[in-house]
Amino acid sequence: MAANADQQDRLVEAVGAAFAERLPLQIAGSGSKVFLTEPGTSRGRADVGRLLSVAEHSGVTEYRPEELVVTARAGTTLKELEQQLARERQMLPFEPPRFSGAGTLGGAIASGLSGPGRPWYGSLRDAVLGVEMINGRGEFLRFGGQVMKNVAGYDVSRLQAGAFGTLGVLLSASIKILPKPVHELTCVIALEAEIALERLREWARLPLPITATCHVDGQLRVRLSGAESAVVWAAGHIGGDVVHAEPFWSQVRNHEIDFFKREGTLWRLSLPPNSLLTDEPTLIEWGGALRWVRSEQAMFDWARQQGGYALPFNGDYSTQYFLQVDRGLRKRIKKAFDPAEVLNPLTDVVPDAN
């Protein structure tokens, strides 16, 4: 695979042909998140469409560190992108998960998933400044731009975040980036989950340089980032053992720690941070606002009662993801971008009426 290749013309042509023939397309990046979109199977559902690979459309097209913006083609791997940024001591603020070490920028945007720093650094969708895309009619479109503030037209760029490629084939995106913090450390404290949530609640109201929290198996970890003086001061306030250069955060982000390897259905719960705990094994991130729960019981209703949402983090994820919200409007939005429904029918965004 070429690290820098412009496949735009091929992709525009392919979508145009699919629209003309009403043939569904299955958009693919590196395939690292396919496990979220295949009900009941572990392999691709080739039967629902012709494969449209965007992985070859790759490469960073514009990067000026002082602008805090990077523009890259959708097939650019997260690994390559993050390495380039790291050379300038910068980073993707939303810390996108790289399951099995893979993942492309386009796939990260399509799934909309953000990592451990999300409440403090912002989400993936927060960082999207502009996109180039192909809609379901095979038209090349450009929305947003490379500037921080832009209210010209509807925010179609951010709408692509978490749309699972159902509204368009992403060609490239401009992303807001941040300087890497000059200093970082992690406080590790032995605490029961309930007490940990209480502490997190208190700390959320204080101006502490917290950039990630995780509670699992009786231990609370708090990442502090920023000016050294501020970080050291805050570590004293928070307490526990201080660990530098903690690999834990990338392991949580990429689901490599033990909790994610255990048996049982994994649920992702996005909740008000002060929500109750369940009895099931739970990993708590985002100051309480993100919970990973091992449960064989469906958690949809419980999460709704708390004022949040639960999704099974398996092949049913993308289907349930779209079922949780207004179906009529969702269908009309889908049709506005993709009238013939050729883009990613695998995510079941428009289930038939029956």
Binding site: E67, S123, G145, V151, Y154, L159, R205, A227, W233, Q320
Partner: protein
Amino acid sequence: MSRAIVTELLRANLPARSLITDPKALKPYETDGLTAIRELPWLVALPENVRQVEAVVRICRGHGVPLVARGAGTGLSGGARPHKDGIVLGLSKLNKILEVDIDNCVARVEPGVRNQAISDAVAKHRLYYAPDPSSQIACSIGGNVAENSGGVHCLKYGLTVHNVVGLTVLTVDGSFLELGGKGLDSPGYDLMALLCGSEGMLGIVTEVTVRLLPMPPEKRVLLAAFHEVKAAADVVGNIIGQGLVPAGLEMMDRLAIEAAEDYVHAGYPREAAAILLCELDGVEAEVESNLSFVSHLLEEGGAYDIRVAVEPEEQARFWMGRKAAFPAMGRISPDYYCMDGTIPRARLSEVLENIEQLSRHYGLKVANVFHAGDGNLHPLILYDANEPGQLERTEEMGGRILELCVAVGGSVTGEHGVGVEKLDQMCSQFSATELDQFHRLKAAFDPELLLNPGKAIPTLSRCSEIGGMHVHDGKLPFPHLERF
């Protein structure tokens, strides 16, 4: 549509005090903050609760009446300009703070609540709502959502879209969309991001849940004076490129400095070609170390005078001149026209030079007061509407400035919105297929185009009439230089 029938239906659903039809009483609603553009609406409805909002929307839909939602009317692009055959749906009476949830660090409020009122209500918990548009004393949170408002501190803390976690939206078909909540994300298309900045075209916001942040314990404000505009502009990129994101980073040029000085006597150096105002916040140790870092960069970048405000009163004085800059212009010029383009920071000094050239070409003075840190320009073109031809020249020059912003990879509007004001410039920024996509998206929400008709997105025929030119960022060879 029969006005008599619609009026009767409205009377049956809303108290008499909530309906305005008398032309004299309608007058205050004929314009928003863009006072050059006026239109008297047929009727103003000021519902007092969500049920009444629902009734107005239902009646308008049933009878095909155009509906223009309005918050405090402080918008600067004519987004709330009424429709002559339509109803203005004023949401100012929905002004209750419904819940302050300290445990989840959020507040649930009605759309008519003033931006500043949210921060005031939670100040006792040492929390605040971060986006602070300069109209924050008056502007409403519903309007902030419609415009995706920013403010001086959005460089570090983000725009409205980054600080709203939940929205309840009434769509024109009468259904309520519950978007987000008190958590940080939710499944399905990100309609919250789509609604932010949609200028009342997609739905009526009836409830907003905002994130509250802890107040920073320490603040410092630096004022740095420069002999050259270019030097000041280049330092801006340098500070951020070095990995420091200040809470605010603003710039004023000489004309703006002098006008502000004459008006509020903030103590700005009159002889400076440009000043930068830089706010740093955080815990004390962090603020101190950032302060010495920024001071060093300013000095290295050619600042000949650097002052630091430590005490709140002094900080307020530093900011006073910046905040008074617009009214100050009103004192030195009969009229002024405020632009809102954004550009990549690296192009700042180049674009400012080009604006200067345009200013000479058109014979109109331009003062620059703007959010330098995020590349959001607010050039103020000074003119006299009583001089024949000046307004036309001003508008033409304004258009050129915005096209210049697009040409260097920016946008025609950073935070004021398109409204009716920048419809023509939208033709420069977007291709026909892109505008068409906007219209299709609009139709998914509002197929009969009743919500704020004619705003934000130009029709394709309008663009072809004005000979709309699509400038792809920077790909036209120096379009701004060739056009003089």
